[in-house]
Symmetry: C2
Subunit: 225 residues, 2 copies
């Protein structure tokens, strides 16, 4: 019974990794669409959402069945809860990819214009956070998960910088308003991807250490202010 249970936990982990791969691919594709202005890639992202949503439901059901099957030990219980939470965050990463793809479609109605922000770089940091958080999950490595929390500040700063440089651009060249607003929204979408990666990293730490590290940043920020 216990062996079968642990086999099922492994299957659950495996499925979550597939989910993570799909979410990450969706972000990569959306940014590829942004770089190349290729509408067909946008369509790919939007259609891919259905598969991500379907897998989210399957993982949740599997987790629920495992909780119902027998009384899991404390560490397994925390693992299953971490999976349920990580699953929800990954699905929302996929939503962000769809939002970006929608913005790219909108952008394509306007002339191409150089923007003063590096969206692909920001996306690569946000994607790396998701990947690292999942790697921390596979390896049960709380320290690796902590390194993800530090990266979140980096993305927040990029997003703030994007906000200010794009507002300056709009003031200087109002004709580029549409392009700049789309870039601004995409920057915020990527900041949300980084937030989801942060949530995942926190769940990994909670699972591994049994300690709750959520909100440690806002608390230390508040203590410092």
């Amino acid at each position: 019974m216990r062996i079968r249970f642990h086999q099922s936990l492994d299957d659950l982990k495996e499925k979550l990794l597939v989910m993570a791969g799909m979410a990450e691919q969706a972000i990569q594709r959306a940014i590829e669409a942004y770089r190349t202005r290729d509408t067909s890639i946008c369509d790919l992202v939007m259609h891919g959402e259905l598969a991500i949503n379907k897998l989210e439901r399957e993982i949740d059901q599997m987790a629920l069945d495992l909780l119902a099957m027998e009384q899991p030990m404390a560490i397994d219980l925390r693992f299953i809860l971490a999976v349920i939470k990580i699953n929800a965050d990954l699905e929302r990463v996929g939503d962000q990819a769809v939002n970006i793809a929608e913005r790219v479609c909108d952008l394509n109605a306007f002339a191409a214009a150089e923007m003063p922000i590096d969206i692909p770089h920001m996306a690569s940091v946000a994607s790396a956070m998701v990947r690292k958080a999942l790697q921390a999950f596979i390896e049960g490595d709380a320290e690796l998960a902590e390194s993800v929390l530090a990266m979140d500040d980096q993305v927040d700063k990029m997003n703030e910088a994007a906000y200010y440089s794009l507002s300056l651009l709009i003031k200087d060249q109002p004709a580029l308003t549409a392009q700049a607003l789309n870039a601004l929204v995409i920057s915020r979408n990527l900041e949300r991807v980084a937030d989801h990666a942060t949530n995942i990293a926190e769940d990994v730490i909670f699972w591994v250490r049994g300690a709750d590290v959520r909100h440690h940043q806002s608390q230390s920020q508040n203590a410092a202010s």
Copy 2:
């Protein structure tokens, strides 16, 4: 044992309602700050975040203890999982209130200007969605929860309309760029509050009916397109 267990479930529900009240109050205060441009209310929202974060942890721990205590029946299991998910969404509603308060602080550095969008109205719809979703949760009313899903489209449309009217304003009056961008970000924050209310409503339906209604909208949208 069962009686104590059900008493604990009631306590958990009670705590989640307190959490919901705090999240809703945070949004109301942030919008009050926007209306009155009162920085002291912004501070109140930012400090309130600590209490919300603390309560989130308490609720999660309580839910975890209940899952560990004894093997809950299927309906109770789904209830506890719904609480864990709703809890996370409420905490993120609180985060949105903080984001709005930050934007209001930023806005106060610029001259007041009439914006072509009704932020307080949008906020009242988004708040009503959170309230209704929680009411559906208290009453175990899946139909009421479904009415929340319909309201989400309304907020999405307001957000889209805000995006277009604010981009027109910026093109016409570039001097108002800062004010318009802040209003645009606040509008997106409120759209996210509505998304969280939608997630909560879906969790309520899942708990009550044991059926998973998530993504029904995107699927029907895709089928229609």
